[in-house]
């Protein structure tokens, strides 16, 4: 009976109810969409940045992150594969090593500094999108001997093309001179000029011979189906791998590999949360105001009900039910509409015209896709739920002092 009373009360002032429902609904709709859009951007940013080179997680020698040099490498063996192959969530893994060298063209008229990486060509296409970004020639193969892939700008600076030879000059792990000739088999374009100017890859076996690093690598790169799964790898692989080597290993999640990206997301999200909090606070105050006024306005009605034998607690229940209904109506319509709008853009994508150049800088394409998640859908309802508790507390407090209507008041 209380329920039907409360429901009927709602429609005694339709306009008022609808305005409150609309305020809650509109806020929920906005929050569902905006949060989904933001999470969509974050996911794209993470995915595209990490898939380019770093992978979703890595195992490194403990000091490699701070000082990425040959000294900070680890020894691995064939037994590692038997450990790693047993992990179901691991979709790909591969070893890498890297150092800074000087590359010169054959005529020695051009010299450039470069970051040379030793990679496993059969594993690399699943770890990094680079293999798909070859614009001339081909990517490395396992059987390659003294072959090199260069970034577009680096090749141009060296005035070299596929088939030409370049000379590599560096220092090996013992500090001796490392020098050798390599034939360019492919040129890659990552669309990031700074990276293209540095990028050079050879096979890991070539690298290990040239830089005196037998069975050594600096990075074990992991790829999983979902980025979230990567963090769970640590307990699955770390204890076993550490027991197989004397080197001091560290597990690095994507946040450690790309701290700037992680912090950028955190910064953006925290400023956004500040906005949403302000928005929600305003709406909760609106709800509070509506409720408060309806209590004041209906003081006589409540007193009459009380005089007729309805207990104050039952009146409170009616009021609470009214506010719960109003909020629920707003929330349900807001969530449904918000999900519908988001779904539409999940299929359509959101294209911001003229933004290609701007987004390319951050490894994003110009079409962005929102992602619906429990957090994006649940954030507004959760905050409103909390607000409802406050409102209920207020109702109970106000109704405590309710007195039955006396003849004089009539």
């Amino acid at each position: 009976m209380l329920i039907s009373l409360a429901w009927r009360n709602l429609w005694r002032h339709r306009k008022r109810t609808w305005i409150t429902v609309a305020a809650v609904g509109l806020t929920t709709l906005m929050l569902v969409f905006m949060l989904s859009f933001q999470f969509g951007i974050y996911d794209t940013m993470k995915e595209q940045n990490l898939k380019l080179m770093d992978g979703y997680a890595q195992i490194q020698q403990s000091d490699f992150l701070e000082q990425p040099n040959l000294e900070h490498s680890f020894v691995y063996s064939d037994q590692w594969s038997s450990v790693l192959d047993k992990v179901d969530s691991l979709s790909a893994y591969g070893f890498r090593a890297q150092t800074y060298v000087i590359l010169s063209n054959n005529a020695d008229t051009q010299n450039r500094g470069a970051l040379i990486m030793g990679v496993q060509p059969d594993k690399e296409p699943q770890l990094s999108s680079l293999a798909k970004k070859i614009i001339s020639g081909r990517y490395l193969q396992n059987s390659d001997d003294h072959k090199i892939v260069l970034g577009k700008q680096l090749a141009a600076q060296l005035r070299s093309k596929v088939g030409d030879q370049v000379q590599l000059l560096g220092e090996d792990r013992d500090g001796s001179l490392a020098i050798d000739l390599y034939e360019i088999v492919g040129i890659a374009d990552t669309h990031i000029p700074e990276l293209n100017r540095q990028l050079a890859q050879i096979t890991l076996s070539d690298f290990q011979i040239l830089f005196a690093m037998p069975n050594r690598a600096q990075q074990l790169v992991f790829m999983t189906a979902e980025i979230g799964q990567a963090a769970d790898l640590k307990p699955l692989v770390m204890p076993q791998l550490q027991s197989l080597t004397d080197s001091d290993l560290r597990f690095r999640n994507w946040q450690a590999l790309q701290p700037a990206l992680d912090q950028a997301i955190e910064l953006d999200l925290s400023s956004a949360i500040l906005w949403y909090a302000a928005l929600l606070l305003i709406v909760i105050l609106i709800l509070l105001n509506t409720l408060y006024m309806s209590i004041l306005e209906r003081q006589n009605e409540f007193s009459l009900l009380n005089a007729l034998g309805v207990q104050p607690i039952q009146i409170s229940q009616i009021l609470i039910l009214e506010i719960v209904f109003t909020t629920l109506l707003g929330l349900i319509s807001g969530v449904l509409l918000g999900m519908a709008v988001t779904e539409y853009f999940i299929f359509q994508g959101i294209t911001l015209p003229g933004s290609e150049g701007v987004f390319a800088q951050f490894g994003l394409s110009d079409t962005l896709y929102p992602v619906l998640s429990l957090l994006s859908v649940g954030f507004a309802p959760a905050v409103f739920g909390f607000g409802l508790i406050l409102l209920c507390a207020m109702v109970l407090f106000k109704m405590r002092s309710l007195k039955p209507l006396t003849g004089r008041q009539l």
Binding site: I19, R112, G113, E171, Q263, E297, V358
Partner: protein, 435 residues
């Protein structure tokens, strides 16, 4: 009991077109139901405050982005040799005679820097890393302040700084070297051959962007030119126009702005060089600054709509609740127009108090963070967006006024509709209300 004023004693209520009296009614009405008024004031003040706060925050963000973009030796206008942007190396440096440099300095500019910016490798006894070498004239003024001020060990370069280098603290750590030690720089010379030079570290700097701290090294321009055999050659010339850029100028970019005039003059004077403004060199910063302004107004519109919901709802309730009062007032002679004014004035008072509260709170807030909001814990993230780690909130009187005016006027205009509807004569006729 309060004493009635002479005005009230003498004036019959049916002639109450008197604005002062109506105003007094409105003011008293507010406090007949103080809690309702206070909640309404709170909602409005909160809406206004959040709009002002985010406006100021966005302005601070955009300003920081602009400073970050313009103050790291990049300037408002840059001159390069053609194709330097594609291949920023020694081959794409430009030769400038001293008379050309004098000509540049005589333009209407605030400051100027001609420097070399080249890729190089730096070697200590233990490590080798790639760096960006900046060959600068130590006496360059403001454009170098961004790094001069952050040297925390040793000193920045000066006129006697031949064969000296200033590097970031993070790079020093990576190289396992320190102040006073020597490092070797390697880069390509004019003839394409690799050249090496030994330099002494005389200063260590810190930078809000850890990646920049590990990558930028500074050496004396003449030393670098002699070493690489490129006398009078420069990679980049950066200029700042006579009037410092502000956000408003960026939003109202006209072909006739001081910046564009400077660009055109430079293009005429140096037709063989690539002249570009920061907008085309830093499209992200430019787009962000412009986008932030439009986004600000979207945000304000959103808050406004919600405030309207709250306000209209409360208004509808109070108008409904007070029907009897209006009918009574009308019956004893208050004109419907006076009633209308009274209700509008009630609204105006609420808005005025909310305005005072919100501005007061904002001024207090800004005073409490006068040292800036430190994003230090997210400094790499901030650098990713191209802003400094400290954001300074400012009192933007003009912008605040615009935002407040836009909100208050919209609120009054929309709230006037239900007020007008409930004070029509047909609504106020006693037969409609009191049985």
């Amino acid at each position: 009991m309060k004493q009635k004023t002479a005005e009230q004693q003498t004036m019959p209520i049916h002639k109450s077109g008197n604005p002062a009296l109506i105003n007094r009614f409105a003011w008293r009405n507010l406090w007949r139901n103080p809690r309702r008024s206070l909640i309404l004031i709170l909602v409005t003040a909160l809406g206004l405050m959040s709009s002002l706060f985010f406006y100021s925050l966005m302005q601070a963000w955009a300003k920081s982005m602009l400073d970050h973009t313009l103050n790291s030796l990049s300037g408002e206008v840059q001159l390069h040799a053609p194709h330097y942007q594609d291949n920023p190396d020694v081959e794409h440096s430009m030769l400038l005679t001293s008379s050309q440099l004098t000509q540049l300095k005589s333009l209407p500019i605030r400051d100027f820097s001609a420097h070399l910016k080249l890729p190089a490798m730096i070697k200590s006894e233990y490590e080798t890393y790639p760096v960006q070498l900046l060959g600068v004239e130590p006496q360059t003024g403001r454009p170098l302040d961004f790094i001069r001020k952050t040297v925390h060990q040793g000193q920045f370069l000066n006129q006697d700084s031949t064969y000296q280098i200033v590097i970031g603290a993070k790079l020093a750590k990576r190289l396992n070297t320190d102040l006073g030690r020597k490092v070797v720089l390697m880069s390509q010379g004019n003839d394409g051959k690799l050249k090496e030079i030994g330099l002494t570290i005389v200063g260590l700097y810190r930078h809000s962007d850890p990646n920049a701290e590990a990558a930028m090294v500074f050496a004396d321009l003449k030393t670098v030119q002699n070493w690489l055999d490129i006398d009078n050659k420069y990679s980049e010339i950066t200029l700042n126009s006579s009037q410092p850029l502000d956000i408003q100028q960026i939003l109202n970019d006209t072909p006739n702005s001081p910046l564009n005039r400077l660009k055109n003059r430079l293009k005429q004077a140096f037709p063989e060089l690539d002249v570009q403004t920061w907008q085309s060199l830093q499209p992200f910063a430019n787009a962000s600054i412009k986008m932030m302004d439009s986004f600000n107004w979207v945000w304000i519109a959103m808050i406004l709509v919600l405030m309207l919901f709250g306000m209209i709802n409360t208004l509808l309730m109070s108008l409904y609740e007070r029907r009897r009062e209006f009918t009574t007032l009308y019956t004893i002679g208050l004109k419907s127009s006076a009633l209308r004014w009274m209700l509008l004035l009630e609204l105006v008072w609420i808005l005025a108090i909310a305005l005072l509260v919100s501005w007061g709170a904002m001024i207090a807030l800004i005073a409490s963070v006068s040292d800036g909001i430190d994003l230090g814990f997210l400094s790499e993230g901030a650098a990713w967006f191209g802003v400094d780690r400290i954001l300074y909130l400012n009192i933007e009187w003009q912008d605040w006024f615009d935002v407040s005016a836009a909100m208050v006027v919209t609120l009054i205009m929309i709230a006037a509709v239900p007020i007008w509807r409930s004070t029509r004569v047909a609504q106020l006729k006693p037969s409609n209300r009191i049985a």
